[in-house]
């Protein structure tokens, strides 16, 4: 358990107000702890958005931090004296009069068919729409320090630090593979010195962003162990602050922060047990659980979750009070990097996965895949696949 004693605490500034933070906190965690619900406003409708995915995938927590726009606060550690402010909304994200768009366009805002006539007005309309949708000002010029690309080569590059990636890392280290680099495939809150693979480029070079520098890494063998993405459910008003994916609840629980007092769980996936454990350990209670997401008619609340309206047996709707909704959507293999690399994909249970042979080889020579991204679900299988792929990589390197 991280230490949250007073001596480790400090202050950061959020929209001009002081907020207490602890050494273990990400910016977003400190804000949730101090009761902030609205983190941003959505692009078209200016609806309030809060801490949502907790894993650097969505953009609901993006703010301006120390003069830099577009910073994911869920993945950025809090530091003493940080100046944090919300980006979108007039006069502020917390009270945004532009949310009138949400009421004017009640169902959708389709920019293929709206504001295109008369055609001579289109440039003006576009300018206004861009202005309203843009989130932020340019960065303050001081504090910007970007280094040129760095080209590197190595024997083995592992992308992903999950179950199978970690196993493969240990196995390759044990086999004496010296030039071994392991990076993430996302900006994670646990990722304090982030080095994140963001793309495959020509000649199999992998772009990795680490501490404000882009590295282009050419590896003899690449292991794609990018795991799965948590995906939300398209619930009505399921974008309200207080709807949080399991990883967000987990990251808060790790820091002894209660995501909410009364939680409703919607849907079903492998993470349900962990969500229940996180809720218990942080002192929250699960007031209801709906296995079938279609039984949830809508999420209630104005600026944050106040409850859920659900259809019970016999079609009777009832309302349950809560301040947290945890959607358990499908866990979707994170195939973006494999697809960029040109690896063949295949569908398992409706989900696109990386196709690999029993040794973990993909259709591209020198690129291997293991773990959940290949469609494996049980953790034993994922561990085994990491070991097998690592052995295949050792063979490849030994033979070259």
């Amino acid at each position: 358990m991280p230490d949250t004693s007073e001596k480790d605490s400090f202050e950061i500034t959020f929209n001009g107000k002081h907020v207490r933070a602890y050494a273990v906190d990400t910016i977003a965690a400190a804000l949730v702890r101090s009761g902030v619900h609205v983190f941003s406003r959505s692009m078209k409708f200016h609806r309030p958005r809060g801490y949502y995915c907790g894993s650097g995938r969505c953009i609901s927590c993006v703010m301006r931090v120390n003069g830099i726009p577009g910073v994911r606060t869920c993945s950025t550690p809090a530091a003493p004296g940080m100046v944090v402010s919300t980006e979108r909304g007039f006069p502020s994200s917390s009270h945004d009069i532009l949310s009138v768009f949400d009421h004017v366009f009640r169902k959708e805002f389709d920019y293929q068919h709206r504001f295109i006539r008369p055609s001579f007005m289109t440039p003006l309309f576009q300018m206004i729409i861009r202005r309203l949708a843009s989130s932020s000002r340019l960065p303050d010029s001081e504090g910007l320090d970007f280094a040129p690309f760095e080209r590197r080569s190595c024997d083995a590059l592992i992308i992903g630090r999950g179950v199978s990636g970690s196993v493969a890392h240990a196995r390759l280290q044990g086999a004496g593979v010296r030039s071994l680099i392991t990076v993430d495939n996302r900006m994670g809150p646990e990722n304090n010195a982030p080095s994140t693979a963001f793309g495959f480029y020509e000649d199999g070079e992998v772009g990795v962003l680490s501490s404000n520098r882009i590295h282009l890494i050419k590896a003899m063998a690449v292991l794609i162990a990018t795991g799965r993405n948590e995906v939300g459910l398209p619930l009505v008003n399921g974008d309200l602050p207080g709807v949080m994916l399991p990883e967000a609840v987990h990251q808060l629980a790790l820091r002894r922060i209660r995501a909410g007092n009364h939680a409703v769980i919607v849907g079903m996936n492998d993470l349900k047990e962990r969500v229940e454990r996180d809720l218990r350990s942080s002192g929250a209670s699960a007031v209801a659980s709906y296995r079938d997401p279609t039984s949830v008619v809508r999420v209630l609340g104005r600026r944050c979750v106040r409850g859920v309206e659900a259809r019970g047996t016999g079609g009777v709707t009832n309302r349950v009070k809560c301040d947290l909704v945890v959607p358990l959507g499908p866990l979707v293999p994170s195939v973006e990097l494999a697809q960029q690399a040109g690896c063949e994909l295949s569908v398992i249970n409706g989900l696109w996965c990386v196709k690999s042979d029993p040794e973990g080889r993909t259709s591209i020579p020198g690129i291997f895949a293991s773990g959940a991204v290949t469609g494996l679900v049980r953790s034993e299988d994922r561990i085994a696949s990491g070991e097998v792929a690592a052995s295949a990589i050792v063979n490849l390197l030994g033979g070259s």
């Binding site: 953009i59 389709d110 920019y111 963001f198 882009i214 104005r302 973006e336």
Partner: protein, 95 residues
């Protein structure tokens, strides 16, 4: 009070309704829907929305889920600062 909207894509604010309309206007193809609605073009690059869109397409058109492809996912898969690319030396980008 927010109006009743069910979002598939949080980055670009694309609702279920908008996607259904796009499909029924004659665009039952994932790449066409992407271009029409902007879904999967935001900072998450489809990580949160593509599967839901595929499921919806399967429901609305009767296609099988395994016959619905992903959109082309191009780098960068994770947002990188523009400054990084601007800092590249000439030999880094033209080879």
């Amino acid at each position: 009070m927010p109006t009743r909207k069910a979002f598939v894509c949080l980055c670009e604010d694309v609702t279920m309704e908008e996607l259904r309309n796009a499909i029924h206007r004659g665009f039952p193809d994932i790449e066409e829907i992407k271009r029409m609605t902007g879904i999967a073009t935001g900072p998450c690059q489809g990580k949160q929305c593509l599967h839901t869109l595929r499921t919806l397409l399967a429901q609305e058109t009767g296609m099988k889920l395994e016959d619905i492809p992903l959109t082309t996912l191009r780098p960068p898969a994770v947002p990188t600062p523009f400054g990084q690319w601007a800092a590249a030396k000439k030999e880094d980008v033209t080879r």
